[in-house]
Symmetry: C2
Subunit: 344 residues, 2 copies
DNA sequence: ATGAAAGCGCTAACAA
DNA sequence: TTGTTAGCGCTTTCAT
């Protein structure tokens, strides 16, 4: 089947000539556009197959679509994101769209560059997972290219949104721990530098949800938040700090599984046992949380479903850019495993 | 700073007009091409900044380069690949190139489609991580676009290669286990369907390296390979099978950490302890292997360095397509942790 | 239903 | 050193 490397790529002109039709006709058949007879479609398709023609996305992009969807992932090492991505690719599998990932961008500046680069490449639509750019910038971007924002609680007329209800998620954890008898429950948070999006970021909402739930249980005085990052290192240093408290917390709620893992490292290093000496809970229910050696209690936010919804909304918006924006909020559930137990 | 969404994108023509020069001049400045005076460069740069101009990759791709490098990753959920990717992006950080990831392609057909899609998008170069396509197809692809193959032991005149010495890696594990006193050492492998690349695939080489090392130690009779896949599930089912042997192995060497994790699940489920009842070793030294709850003995193959070398070779080949092909083979090292110990 | 022709934004011969 | 101009491969009016 493998053809020898051609000197020149097969173009729409070659196909047209081979099929004895105009390039317009080929283009129309390619896009299932209006105004092609079945007979012509047949001939064109045959010619395409004969010649092994593939449209050039670059050339297409100059006039029409590129059939490319870009997904920006903040941290590819965080095992939650592959889940979301799987949902996106699943949903796009049987379409003409190809998914391309723009990897890891630390910082607002790098993020802006990454988004620019997707626009420069004429992507038909982009999905931004947990972007940290200021709200205004996201609106600006969404004005240029169909955009779906994932994991940020921002209602906008220009972009669609998919998120998990982080307030509920945080409450699930606190309720669970309180139900087990814990009172000194600490939280490891991810900081927010950009003031304009404090209220939109999942990390901030989880932290706030934690505070709300604590107060609801009359534990306002026990609120204890360390702000590091949602990374292994962040969880590690955060937990270390918590373990040096004069009165140690009996439970740690990390805002992300990956941070919870780091926390478990710190707890182990301190010679303490989980859940005997201290309970640990995470957020995201990543594949590694289910892993027997870890068995981490965690909030499941259905990453795959988030991806599916994001892709669905994006396709809808690419199809109709004037469409009313949609917001999808998914309800998280708690998966109780063995890192949480009643305190001593 | 954020400009309102423009109706029309700023083009090279706008820049040229604003700077009072020709579009050629702008184009040349953009590419640091020969034949531009410092004065002109200045004016053009100023105009670019004034107008917030960004070149369209699609238009560029039609004539010249797109400044885009594609990386195909076989399984984005495998925590080894982010390491490689980090190396690639590091190396490309200060260049004009943007890295785009083509995610997870299960099967030869999907892989071929993914590669095609990168070619269709006029990428300037591609890095294929552990591709499963037949050798001839890779050569074909490399004839069309500069290509670096990662993790496949295939010497070719048309593409460059970066790989880890898997024979050595497998031997490191076996030597270590034998040194601890193990004799019944089993291996969990990843199958190879395509006969044309049996000798090139890292999974096959690891399995063969295991066999060689076993024989070298006079343990040819103890060779025991189960072939599943390099996934959590693969490791799980593989280990389950091994645990039902009339005489159980005292050690399991999984060809990938992710499979070793699945194996640990199966061992735990069977009520056995690690390393008391059975030792487990992996391959890749992924971040999770170092995790305290896992502490998996594993072969480190310097994923980041692999990525750096791959990107370096790709840039070199993009710069000179006629260049002699290079092969880089990195030596793995063994990281001993707590999942391996002398047998009972 | 079909095709001719004008671009899309850029690069690269070639002229000046 | 600088500018003119002809495409790159495709989509899209607008005729026919």
């Amino acid at each position: 089947m493998t053809r020898p490397a051609q000197r020149r790529r097969v173009t729409i002109v070659d196909v047209a000539r081979h099929a004895q039709v105009s390039t317009t006709a080929v283009s129309k058949v390619l896009r299932n556009a209006y105004g092609t007879s079945p007979a012509m479609r047949d001939r064109v398709h045959r010619a395409i197959a004969d010649l092994g023609y593939r449209p050039s996305a670059a050339a297409r992009g100059l006039r029409g679509q590129t059939y490319t969807v870009g997904v920006m992932v903040p941290d590819i090492a965080n095992p939650f994101f592959p889940e979301v991505l799987a949902g996106v690719t699943d949903q796009l599998r049987d379409t003409d769209y190809q998914v391309l990932l723009a990897p890891g961008c630390a910082g607002e500046k790098a993020e802006a560059r990454t988004i620019e680069s997707m626009i420069d490449r004429s992507m038909d639509g982009i999905i931004l997972i947990a972007p940290i750019s200021p709200r205004a910038h996201l609106e600006h971007v969404a004005g240029i290219v169909p955009t779906v924002i994932v994991g940020r609680h921002a209602r906008s007329a220009t972009f669609d949104m998919v998120a998990d209800d982080d307030t509920v998620g945080a409450a699930l954890v606190v309720d669970h721990l309180v139900g087990l008898g814990h009172r000194r429950i600490a939280h490891i948070a991810h900081p927010e530098t950009e003031p304009s999006c404090v209220e939109e970021m999942p990390n901030m909402i989880r932290a706030e949800g934690y505070r709300l739930a604590m107060r609801r249980h009359g534990l306002g005085d026990e609120i204890d938040v360390v702000s590091t990052t949602y990374t292994r290192e962040g969880g590690y240093t955060g937990a270390r700090e918590l373990l040096t408290r004069p009165v140690r917390p009996t439970a740690i709620f990390a805002g992300a599984d990956i941070a919870a893992m780091g926390a478990l490292d710190a707890v182990a290093e301190a010679g303490l046992s989980v859940p005997g000496d201290i309970s640990v809970a995470g957020y995201d229910n990543t594949p590694f949380a289910a892993f027997s050696q870890v068995s981490l209690t965690s909030v499941d936010q259905a990453g795959r479903q988030i991806g599916v919804d994001a892709a669905r909304l994006l396709l809808a918006r690419i199809g109709d850019r004037g469409r009313r924006s949609a917001q999808v909020t998914l309800s998280p559930t708690l998966v109780v495993r063995t890192t949480t137990a009643p305190p001593r």
